[in-house]
């Protein structure tokens, strides 16, 4: 029977799996597959698994439980192996690599930061600081219906938005970089100007959090900072 694989840990990990539920409906019980110095946390793979909210949350809950007791290499959602033997084989084949990663990530957690500036505030800033944009805007509002004006204004504003968001992103990242062991920058989506994950070591966590808070407070109320963590190190495995 196919098995769903959640994470890899060291065989010294306590693996408290009893009251945890795996993916699938009804939820599959979790078990471990031991391979030398490593363990894989698995369950029977449900038929027709899809990324339902419940299943994604279950996958994540398993990681969170495991990371509370030790280092974990979280697998990407949705990976299955044909059977326990195949899991064992895969672990054995790359035992050195996985052991090294576990060691490197020991005592570290991931924090993911996404942030946006409310569009209205951003546009307001641009209009206040760009004479040309303000003039164009006032001409349009004053009733000039030349079709050229909105295009010129829009292009100018679009460029400004991009420049400002990029500069905000690098400012925020640079402020936090000193407290992270590693970082992983992703494409921001929606209105976000930054989407970045930090790998933070235990002894830097407090400084990291304090700094993040201070940055978001400094930027003010038109900004929305969404910091998620501590997370298993999805971005650093």
């Amino acid at each position: 029977m196919a098995v769903y694989v959640y994470s890899i840990t060291s065989d010294r990990h306590p693996l408290r799996l009893d009251d945890l539920e795996g993916v699938g409906e009804p939820a599959a019980p979790l078990r471990k597959v031991v391979a030398g110095p490593l363990c894989a946390v698995v369950s029977d793979a449900p038929e027709g698994l899809r990324p339902k909210r419940r299943d994604v949350a279950a996958h994540q809950a398993v990681q969170e439980r495991l990371m509370a007791d030790g280092t974990v290499l979280p697998l990407r959602f949705g990976l299955t192996a044909p059977d326990d033997g195949a899991v064992q084989e895969a672990l054995e084949k790359r035992a050195a690599e996985y052991t090294e990663r576990l060691e490197a990530l020991r005592g570290c957690v991931e924090y993911n930061l996404k942030a946006l500036q409310q569009e209205e505030a951003l546009l307001r800033e641009i209009l206040q600081e760009s004479e040309t944009a303000r003039q164009l805007n006032e001409e349009i509002r004053g009733g000039n219906t030349s079709p050229d004006l909105p295009l010129r204004l829009g292009e100018l504003v679009a460029d400004e938005v991009q420049a400002r968001q990029e500069s905000l992103a690098s400012g925020v990242i640079e402020a936090l970089r000193p407290f992270a062991r590693d970082l992983s920058i992703s494409q921001p989506t929606g209105d976000d100007f930054v989407n970045v994950s930090f790998l933070v070591a235990e002894d830097q966590e407090e400084l990291f959090l304090t700094t993040e808070l201070s940055v978001s407070n400094q930027l003010g109320d038109s900004f929305d900072f969404r910091l998620n963590g501590p997370l298993p190190p999805y971005s650093f495995v």
Binding site: P188, S222, G229
Partner: protein
Amino acid sequence: MTVVPQGGGNVSRGGAGSGNLYDVLELILDRGLVIDVFVRVSLVGIEILKIDARVVVASVDTYLRFAEACNRLDLESGRKAPTQLTDIVGDTVESGARGKSKGALGGAMEAVAESLTGGGKSKRDEAGEEAEEAEEKEPVERRRPARRATRRERERGQE
């Protein structure tokens, strides 16, 4: 999961509880260790991560949307208050009635702006359901955001 202490105004905190599963969805679905001999189940939902991030070339549409957003801005508070800080405060008061994090645009545009900004908490909860919605094969059109040239361009630059 530990919940990080609540910070200032618009700072939202926390782990991957139901409220912000959406914000960590990309990590769970798109990061994490991949073991190449394992099979990845077919995940329609993976596509939802790409919806917001799709590249849109700087276009007339984008320009017009920005121009319109500027035209609709109430600049009064800005004129009265010269410093940036005051402007930000004024802005918050003004937009407060409509709820934080909503976009600038009034009327019909507001709904669009809302989907863009990822809005307040209720909006994020709704977005979090997408993993489920993806299954029903209707996620793309439903929360297709308005065109944004700027970020798309930047993303292309990064890739």
